[in-house]
């Protein structure tokens, strides 16, 4: 943007009345000059002004075309549109209410849905190096795979019993650390021995 353009932009924004007045004066002077020429050519004053105005064309249309060239015209048009919109809304309070309610419900619902989605699915678990965490299961041999896909099904997976966990813990070498967690998919299958509360083994201290 050249400095001339910036100057005219500021002038168009802040000295609106002055330049409007200037434009009107300029165009009006043009009509008068036209009329003057026609008087010189021998027309009566009345006829000359009439002919000059006809030749000039629509004053407002010309003004509108000139305004469109002013730097920052879009700002003016935008503010006119906003004012028009506010006027129309004020005249139709019912419509305004429907709009506000529709917007509120729309925004509220999507925020709520996203919050749930984020908490349940998107939010990462609070552990570091998650690519190194695995979940171990046992397969129930009585529910053997009976199709050819060889894909495990949820129903074939069984949680470890506590003694199993202890064996894994003592004998496996593939994992840095083992821990148990209660799940809800297949119910809890603790082995209860002796008295007192069921043992849950080590919980997730290993990765916390």
């Amino acid at each position: 943007m050249s400095s001339a353009r910036i100057r005219s932009f500021l002038r168009n924004c802040f000295r609106r009345n002055a330049i409007e007045h200037d434009l009107h004066a300029e165009l009006y002077a043009h009509v008068e000059l036209l009329a003057e020429q026609k008087i010189k050519e021998g027309m009566s004053e009345f006829e000359a002004y009439r002919a000059a105005k006809i030749e000039f064309g629509g004053m407002e249309q010309v003004k509108e075309q000139v305004r469109a060239t002013w730097t920052g015209a879009w700002l003016q048009i935008l503010s006119q549109d906003v004012r028009f919109a506010l006027r129309v809304l004020r005249k139709n309070p019912g419509f305004l209410c429907v709009c506000i309610v529709a917007l509120a419900v729309g925004i509220g619902l999507s925020t709520a849905v996203f919050s749930i989605l984020y908490a349940v699915i998107l939010k990462p678990l609070p552990f570091p190096e998650q690519d190194r965490i695995v979940v171990g299961w046992k397969i129930d041999p009585s529910k053997a795979i009976n199709d050819n896909t060889r894909q495990l099904r949820d129903s074939q997976l069984v949680e470890l019993s506590y003694p199993d966990y202890k064996d894994w813990r003592e004998q496996s070498t593939s994992f840095e650390e083992l821990a148990v967690m209660p799940t809800t998919t297949n119910g809890n299958s603790y082995i209860l021995t002796g008295q007192g509360e069921p043992k849950q083994g080590r919980k997730f201290e290993s990765v916390g």
Binding site: S8, A25, E26, A29, E32, G57, V62, V66
Partner: protein
Amino acid sequence: MSPEQTELLRGTLDLMILKALSQNAEMHGLGISRRIEQITKGTFIVKPGSLFPALHRMEQSGWISCEWGESDQKRRAKYYRLTKAGRKQLGIEAERWGRISAAIGLVLQAS
């Protein structure tokens, strides 16, 4: 009207206004319009609806400047004069127009 056509017409109008102003120290809108009409022997009649938007656009671009003055008959009018940037622009536009008209000339001469 296709965009190319508008572009050509607008460019042409700017060029004619700049040229008219380069030959006279200062002119008002009607003077410019009459001058163009006279030079082109009436081929181009610039109506206020195209003249004033062009003048204001060129003034904002800094090619012409304007101030209020008095006509011979003591009438107030807004006078336009060419700026330094405008004189440069006239050179650019004239050169561009020369290229276009030469190219079109070549097209028409081709057999």
